[in-house]
Chain length 462, copies 3
Amino acid sequence: MVTPDVALSLPPSAMAIYEQIRDLPIVSPHGHCAPEWFAEDKPFGDPAELLIIPDHYVFRMLYSQGVALRDLGVGVPKQDRDPRAIFQRFADHFHLFLGTPSHLWLAHTFAHQFGIAERLTSANAMAIYDTIDAALQRHAFRPRALFEAFNIAVLATTDGALDDLAHHAAIADSGWSGRVIPTFRPDNVLDPMAVEFARNVARLGAITDEDTAGFSGYLSALRKRRAAFQVLGATATDHAVLDLATEWLSPQDAAALFAKALQGALTSGEAVTFYGHMLIEMAQMSVDDGMVMQIHAGSQRSTNAAVYETFGVDKGADIPKRTDWVGGLNGLLNRVGNSAECTVIAFTLDETTYARELAPMAGHWPALRLGPPWWFHDSANGIARYLDQVVETAGYYNLAGFNDDTRAFLSIPARHDLWRRGVSLHLAQQSARGLMHADDTAVLARQLSVDLAVDAYKLGGM
Amino acid sequence: MVTPDVALSLPPSAMAIYEQIRDLPIVSPHGHCAPEWFAEDKPFGDPAELLIIPDHYVFRMLYSQGVALRDLGVGVPKQDRDPRAIFQRFADHFHLFLGTPSHLWLAHTFAHQFGIAERLTSANAMAIYDTIDAALQRHAFRPRALFEAFNIAVLATTDGALDDLAHHAAIADSGWSGRVIPTFRPDNVLDPMAVEFARNVARLGAITDEDTAGFSGYLSALRKRRAAFQVLGATATDHAVLDLATEWLSPQDAAALFAKALQGALTSGEAVTFYGHMLIEMAQMSVDDGMVMQIHAGSQRSTNAAVYETFGVDKGADIPKRTDWVGGLNGLLNRVGNSAECTVIAFTLDETTYARELAPMAGHWPALRLGPPWWFHDSANGIARYLDQVVETAGYYNLAGFNDDTRAFLSIPARHDLWRRGVSLHLAQQSARGLMHADDTAVLARQLSVDLAVDAYKLGGM
Amino acid sequence: MVTPDVALSLPPSAMAIYEQIRDLPIVSPHGHCAPEWFAEDKPFGDPAELLIIPDHYVFRMLYSQGVALRDLGVGVPKQDRDPRAIFQRFADHFHLFLGTPSHLWLAHTFAHQFGIAERLTSANAMAIYDTIDAALQRHAFRPRALFEAFNIAVLATTDGALDDLAHHAAIADSGWSGRVIPTFRPDNVLDPMAVEFARNVARLGAITDEDTAGFSGYLSALRKRRAAFQVLGATATDHAVLDLATEWLSPQDAAALFAKALQGALTSGEAVTFYGHMLIEMAQMSVDDGMVMQIHAGSQRSTNAAVYETFGVDKGADIPKRTDWVGGLNGLLNRVGNSAECTVIAFTLDETTYARELAPMAGHWPALRLGPPWWFHDSANGIARYLDQVVETAGYYNLAGFNDDTRAFLSIPARHDLWRRGVSLHLAQQSARGLMHADDTAVLARQLSVDLAVDAYKLGGM
């Protein structure tokens, strides 16, 4: 194995901790890999298709410096793309990533996955392209082989409520030992502001054989879908919300808003109210069926209208905004928060809420755990800020460990490695500052790397 | 004296500063100790009653991990409690405090107050219980003896406006040399949203022999009560406010809102308006009588309705929220803020306001001083963030030193010790970074430990 | 040259970087020096007039500790001032600046500009006064000589839209080689809340020979004024806004609001709407004429009414407030943000927006660059927080380098020196942490010191 180009370096005290956790299995309880990769186990495409075109972390940065998205292959059919030109363009701008976590992830991937010892430059771009391209033809770079080489114990995908889960069923039926499980993400049948909400709800009814024209049938349909996901191994649900607000409505009021939602007649305030109520319904179903509830709040999606109209969602223009967790979760936590059987994991993009809101809340409510630093914040400094700001008030045991939240499969080892390095650095500093003993650091390193995620997501013993 | 189990460790440069301040008297100008302890000087109760049951920092953490509050003795009459079982349960979960300031305070208390060299574990819990229990029977562990052993120069309690101050009078009459002084906290007669506001105001009238059915009698009654507190040594008032807003009303408008408040007829907006006006009245009385005004803003109290209904207030569910200091203090500061005789001390739980709002405001207004890191933030990192974020804009001399704000009497030395260590670390770093001279660090260490608090709270020379 | 009294000290790894950039020319693309200094090249006044009276960083701190502004010469006609007494008073309170950037800037100025090796104290105040006063009589301390001694490559001033630019024209005509350029700041003809808005717009019409009673004449007048600034070297516009909100209006709606604004009849909501529209008009003119657009948001001006009424603006009572950049720039960026030819530079006083909003936005929008840490935040910690919080998401190349934003001409070398030291420290740490190579640090040090500012402000090659 080649030494990576760049990686968060560790002083000896932190290295001693890191060496205890570096080779532990990867637990990935939240992410966006495609289940068909593991169902079909076909080779990945070319280097541009693998590393650049789907990764909004990567192309947003080049776009911000004037490179057109089409010139990076975004929105261009495969047959019209020139992957070598795309990769060359990426290499020509590689300096733009200096200081960013993408730089670390890419360097780690080049070094560890492809054995490339040189740094990517304009001059060696085509040689490196060829190295990667050749590797991708080999059996060792098929999805299942990589999954095993990465030592992944469990990988959760994210799947819409209307997804038929055929790929997950195929994985289960295949006899392959890899544990790839779905996650129930029902945003498009819960949030009345979703595109084609009424049509989605009708499809939900068709899939579950319930009459979703009425509110009670709608709830039954949701319960059935949760159960179907559980059959294929799901342990968690996932919910995105922009303006977090949860208030429990009477059954009559909820049903009335639902009826209006199906007609597309809700005001935007009513839509927020209805979605907030449905989040509580989900939380209550979690108490019943044991699924862990993840809430991601505060990402303003697709803020660039021109990019959205041409290229669609997930194109690097999702920007975090302020979030009020105290007010926003008030209704939900006062319904289910005192239940230790229920687990709600909160993810924020608003770091100001770490010490002010989320850590005190996680340090009180039995049901609440704090998710890891999310999205822009799973970086070296982001991890340090997170641990520095949440641990003093929440402790370690109210955290949910780490998850990589990525659709860039090859970066999974790099992301967990960065977290483990960050954790080791943090714990070594805690020990050096006199705040804990060396034997505490060993226990906590393992907790933060594996155990807390397993526990929070109810993934069973590892 | 035994070396504490864990404590913020200091490199030699910081240790050299710390050694100059470690043994200075403790000035505790804001806290929640009970004056009857010092009036009556009875032994404290058992270890659970002393260290666990009243400390919401402690039991909230165990509650967050599924331990029932009743199983910790919270809300259970003394005769129904098993203090040994409570202490065992606490010891069984002691790892939950890793990384939190409670861990440091408890470790310091065990080591320094009780000479316990071992770390608390499930195995030694009963032995440690016995050690503490035995110590509490000794005269040296009576409140006055501890007060003297702790080298406390002055300790301020917090007392409601309707409190008869009998315990304070008893202390004054006792001939004991310890300086324990009251603080005037009139929230329940100023804030119309307070429980039983009208009844409280009526009692205020009865106590002061004023007709508090009218606004001018109400103001006179408040002035009389302030004077009564001052007779017993009080130098400060204290005010909690959730949504900070201060606007000066005409006497007619204020009187009209007061009349409506007595009838319980204010809208919530009017209640905020009236309370904001009364905070300015308090500030103006401060200009007249010289009492220092403390404003604590931004704690959303009792956010867990079920816990509140069963166990009451102060049960670990008070969560910080965002605070607007620029807008919120605008009315008050434009009435009294240019008076250097007046001192207003602002406490925030919203760290985002340190550098953005409070430091610039304290660096401008003659009347304004910035209180120390409050509540969740008087931790090792919290102290570091505070000093890093406020000093560059406010300087050191616009700070109000430290206060422990605690009802956990035995933790007072630990809390001041952590502050003094944090200050020493900060100053040593400032010197190492070239930002000040060694002789500056000596002066500032003393200022931050003792002098600034004495000066801000008008406690006279030490 | 004398070693400065205090300065951010650098470990060897950072010093090695610093030595590569310490002597690079100063690029000062945004500030508040008076162009007449360089047009007339007269001696500066006495030490109090130079260092204390105009510097709100300095007198605000003394005011906060009870020194009257008049006793510092603020608001006092020159003939009525005693500059020696003012300087003595300043020296008597010099300890108040400990820990603040003013301390560093003043110490640097005393040491580097005036060769004063001693620290300012009450005892040596008059001797130091005499040293400075004597120096100011010498030709080497004339504005142009200092400009050259400071190695300033370019200095931008800030000039109102109605300014006749006579001083800039005089500089251009003088044959002097110093590059001093204006910046177009049209707040008082764009913001309907500005004092005497209608009269300002009428004067704009008179200056440009356009009929500014109508909206299209008003736009033409603005275009003409921009062009007039460009003729004298301006490359940028500058816009202050309190509550950032930008929404594109139809020409009819904009014209109607403009007509109402001239009558002083806008509601405050309409005034915000109109100003927001005009910011977009400015951005579109920038696309046409290539001027860089600077937006400074979130300073609540003159919060102390008594000080404002007596002494006017810029008296140390401008306090930062929260800013919503995602919502606030939405309208503007969706009109011009995808144009790489357009450059919008955003300055914030709300550090919570660094990682949450501005870095993600700058890492996406081609038109957006992030300005340096502003006002209270161009301090040692402020610089560190900025780099730590923005780089991971924005990278380095979406930053606009540094600017000093000062009216304190003698502090310009000190301010750029602090930035360069802060940058060197940051880059050395990045390298030590394994996050970049040594050769990257050399390139980035130069970029952050000079090149990014030149590029962002379109100042041509250096």
